[in-house]
């Protein structure tokens, strides 16, 4: 297991390198530098600025310089937010994004699996059909459609919740978390329903029933874990989806998270900030996927066994 984990971890390196390289060169071939807006700058000041940010070096030099920086976990200064380093901006925004994202994924997991199981146990009933209809709707309505509609209904018309902003208070968290979680809830409910139905048809469930165990024990002890395995493997993509979803959610609800910085940076051509966020989130997604993989293997004795050998 340990050996396997190590191998998987090493396998992440090429992806990381590719990510870094693509991001770096994409940005460097971009037309227009970060100081274009300040065109009136005298040439010597321009040169100074360029020197300060090492823009006067060759592309390759810059690339390796940046690689070195990233390895030492330093994303450099922000081009746009003077006096701020990218690290500081990430440290500022990430806790907010993490709070929203983590709560949303936990919420999605529990609500989604429960709805899915409820539908599976009443397969082809009205409950099942309506739950799955809603799940399909949840998949089909984009975040950025449901968010303004919820704001309109619950904040503007009903006045129950704030329409945006972030004060670390629960009311300001409800709408962003719910909107972020909705598509994942829908996906997880569908996946759980499908896998639960499949598991309930398997021979070992028949064996368990033949033992005279009650249906609830059969489900909890015998069916739940295999039914949840596909959900676990979906968590990887779900997390990636949520991270990109958070970009619009944070914008819609004016939440000062990492996603907001990213969009702002993107619109302002703040190279270092954008790079920093892309790499930071890239690494985060890789690491979380890795953890999900471990969890999956841990829950699945067959894989655990194969890896031991």
């Amino acid at each position: 297991m340990a050996k396997h984990s190590l191998r998987r971890l090493l396998g992440l390196i090429p992806t990381l390198l590719l990510l870094l390289t693509v991001a770096f060169f994409l940005i460097r071939v971009a037309p227009g530098g970060p100081f274009d807006a300040e065109k009136a700058l005298p040439p010597e000041i321009q040169a100074n600025l360029n020197a300060k940010y090492h823009l006067d070096e060759s592309l390759l030099q810059q690339y390796f310089r940046y690689l070195g920086q990233v390895v030492s976990l330093d994303f450099g200064p922000s081009y746009q937010y003077k006096d701020w380093t990218v690290n500081e901006l990430i440290a500022q925004g990430f806790p907010v994004s993490l709070t929203v994202g983590l709560t949303a994924i936990v919420l999605a997991f529990f609500v989604g699996t429960m709805l899915g199981i409820a539908a599976a146990l009443r397969q082809n009933s009205t409950v099942d059909y309506s739950l799955m209809g809603f799940a399909m709707l949840g998949i089909s309505i984009p975040n950025f459609v449901i968010a303004p509609i919820l704001i309109l209904l619950l904040a503007v018309y009903a006045g129950w919740l704030p329409a945006g902003g972030w004060d670390w208070g629960v009311p300001s968290m409800v709408l962003p978390i719910v909107t972020l979680a909705l598509p994942a809830i829908a996906y997880i409910a569908r996946i759980t329903r499908g896998s639960m139905i499949e598991v309930l048809h398997s021979n070992f469930i028949r064996t368990a029933r033949a033992k005279g165990l009650s249906e609830s024990i059969v489900i909890r002890r015998h069916a739940l874990r295999p039914a949840l395995l596909p959900v676990i493997s979906y968590l990887g993509p779900a997390i990636a989806g949520m991270i990109s979803g958070s970009v619009v959610i944070e914008r819609i609800f004016s939440i000062p998270g990492l996603g907001s910085y990213f969009v702002q940076g993107a619109l302002n051509r703040d190279y270092t900030l954008v790079m920093g966020v892309v790499i930071f989130y890239g690494v985060l997604i890789l690491v979380l996927n890795f953890l999900v993989d471990l969890l999956y293997a841990w829950l699945n004795p067959k894989i655990r066994y194969d890896q031991k050998r």
């Binding site: 590719l18 459609v145 993107a266």
Partner: protein
Amino acid sequence: MTKNAEQQLVDPFEAALGVSDVKGRSPWEDAWHRLLKNRAAVYSAFIMGFMVLLVVFGPMLISWESDFTDWDYTSSPPSLESGHWFGTDAVGRDILVRTLEGGRISLLVGLVATIVSLVIGVSYGATAGYFGGTADRMMMRVVDIIYALPFMFLMILLMVVFGRHILLIFVAIGAVNWLDMARIVRGQTLSLKNTEFVEAARACGVQDWAIIRRHIVPNLLGVVIVYVTLTIPQVILIESFLSFLGLGVQEPMSSWGALVSDGAQDMESAPWTLIVPSVFLTVTLYCFNYIGDGLRDALDPKDRL
């Protein structure tokens, strides 16, 4: 080998093995009947057909131009009297026309980008699966590596760097979305390539690429059709996501995502500007998802129960 000679070599084998009609009539008919029984999918297909007609011909039938600003009716709610059935936006443009024209872009992006990812994905996946061995391992390793990239962020980066040209959106989305397709096609190809008729053709000396084209690709059709229907809504979603962030298509062009974004700005004073494009977008995605689901159930009978 000339085309004709190759034909002659392959055909007797196909005839002998009863696969000359590669599609195998009856499984396809079966699938078709199963599909027709899936009411959600059938209704969705009808609605989508109607939606396409509406989006393509609707703007011609409506007397408003999409960029015409009707200063008498700014932010006016839906009404029959004013002639703006679905209301107008803050500068008096007709929401319906704008939504329909936005739909052209959204659907076009969905279609073109899906085709791009289809072409890349199928050829990549079929090649990897067909050759197997080291080539396959290397090719799939590349897919794995790319797969792990936070691609929404890269897409945003791409938009920022190269500007928001519509062609770029097609290519960017398509180029990123081919990974799933490649994986699925490769898996199918791997399992297909050892079947008898492919082996028979190979034993007969038919060239590799000919086998891919004549035997493997037709057999992949089912999976690919399902996947395409599921990719289209995904792509539409990505495009609207980008447009919503202000990174997609640019004025005066518009897409559903951009319209939703505009609508969200004025939703307090003019909620219809948000609701109309939202409904069009959601209905489209909803229908595509149901059609895709229905096709999958129909073409993959093992899921039946």
